[in-house]
Symmetry: D3
Subunit: 139 residues, 6 copies
């Protein structure tokens, strides 16, 4: 990482950091901190490319973007910490708890019941972290 | 498959078939036909469970469901025919071409550039099948 | 989930629940309980579709079904809790410990040594839970 | 590959080759031939390790081994040529067509409907290659 | 994509394009062309981020980078076109044919024999495209 | 496992064990010990095939082999214990800490940012186990 990034790099970084704040600022700060002593450039790229270049584009709303990420990470099934970050993110940008549960359940069709089950357990942890009271989803 | 399904099975099947028509009726008919001589029960389940049980629920709109599926199948990268069906489906339920391209590109972040590239090439085939004229996406 | 499921749904559910008892009743009850406050419908589907619709069919014996599941979950390598459930299931429906170990080891050929190793460690935990004394497999 | 393999290597190779003949001799010969000008050692290992060391063990019958492989390759979804070889193999060592179809369909539960669908289409090709007449599986 | 990119974007793009030329210029041009009418921004990102930001760093030589990519894409097994591009790339930056074959074969240990076999067949196609005469690898 | 292995098996085992010592002897001993009461044959194969047959070949240096393995296991994302073993191995056979970090970061391009992030966290644990002081990688 360059200690004195040029102006335009700062633009991508600044735009990405602002976008990350909208989605999950606390998680973003934790990731950047955790990378500080091993791969600070990776933290920079993470903010500049996904959040500065992609999420900041107007072609798709943030809620749809987070639905896609929750779906994909549930289906892949091998990135539990990042799935939890994006379940928080989905709720932060306007998804309801029911919508998050619904898209995870739907992944049973495309990646199998174990992937969907493990996604639901991740959601349960996130809901508990946010202090959401348990309530029946569908009666 | 039972030649004389009971009434309630017919309800799930009927509901699923109607939902599948909304998403991609032609693809649904091709899949059912292609399974007829090898696994007709699988065709029945495919209509009853994903489309009759899940897609028919009101908790999430069809457009969001298709965004999730396009994202997941792009990320998994091992089900090209089904990805194409759901790119058609996404367009059929209200996604614009730009939104489809956008969610596929975003998967570069979660599953890598090759997965996103192969997803874009699938989208290109689908757009050609639908006779969409090529035009610059973002200038 | 519907509090008063219609008769035919009950048939699939009842048949699935009975089949799940044959395979791993305790695990089934744990999963249903763990989903109660987040996605009770998913628990219903899990019993109705895999166990009510598929496992209940006469075309393949339960032992062969569980061998297939242990093989697949070992190979996928991203669903450790479900792999443990099905190692229990395989033993419950008639597989010997040696047969379970053998099918897991064979997955080294199709999914690599790490997947097989992690499958063996899951089996070791399951055997310990069941109080099976350690003994050399092959001398 | 060593032109003059030592005696014991020959033992593993001979045992593996014989076992491969039981499962799918023609496919084995095709693979060995296709590797001759690029990686002949890999062909040797393929015969010695999977077939000489593992498949030759008495702890699990060949039919169960092939059910496990068809399940795993269907679930992984990224090795279509090898899945077809092992569907042939499963039929060669005693599985019925119905059993093969059944284990592939069951993978919808563990790896999603697209993986199972693509597995069924592979089975359909194999059945056609073997000249099996189409007939309804379950009526 | 912006028709008049700002100066610094041009720097990352220019650096990335030069690096891509070292690895596989012809493939890079084909990918950019194939994306022109569907996702030109994605082509820009592909050059700027992987090749401008990562491959251009001095911390690891290009040969080691390409060995890592050939290994990873062989192991993932779901991106055949990109694997072929990087087998070309590995040869272009100094790997011998034997080294490429060796790293692909080694992936049998980490991702299974089918993944390695399909990687070898990709290498065989690449070698043929480059007009390399077949010769025994190891005698 | 045969209590009295024939001479040539011993040769492969001896050669593999020596090679494993070069890469990560302590990890090798832990794995063999952990398999002793469940699958001792698997430990034998692990030493004979990957380490005795493959890693011992002169066609590729050990450092390049370990770079390939760290890349592949980072990309697969479902074998964290084995990834840590091979990060140790890469450092043991001559990779610098920077080179290990670099190849893991590069996997963001081929398998996504979550896979690379989880790889970096594994590396961080390994560096801590080895008592490497934290220092900025690139300023």
């Amino acid at each position: 990482m360059n200690g004195t990034p040029n102006t335009t790099t700062s633009t991508r970084y600044t735009r990405g950091w602002a976008k990350l704040q909208e989605i999950d600022g606390a998680a973003g700060e934790r990731v950047v901190a955790s990378l500080a002593d091993i791969a600070p450039d990776f933290a920079k790229w993470l903010i500049e490319f996904p959040f500065g270049d992609i999420y900041s584009r107007p072609q798709l709303d943030l809620k749809s973007r987070e639905i896609g990420v929750v779906a994909a990470l549930t289906a892949l099934g091998n990135a539990a910490p990042q799935l939890k970050v994006h379940i928080h993110g989905a709720l932060n940008v306007g998804c309801t708890r029911d919508e998050v549960v619904e898209i995870i359940m739907q992944m049973a069709v495309y990646a199998g019941f174990p992937a969907a089950l493990n996604g639901l357990f991740a959601a349960k942890e996130v809901f508990a972290e946010r202090g959401l009271s348990a309530q029946q989803l569908a009666d």
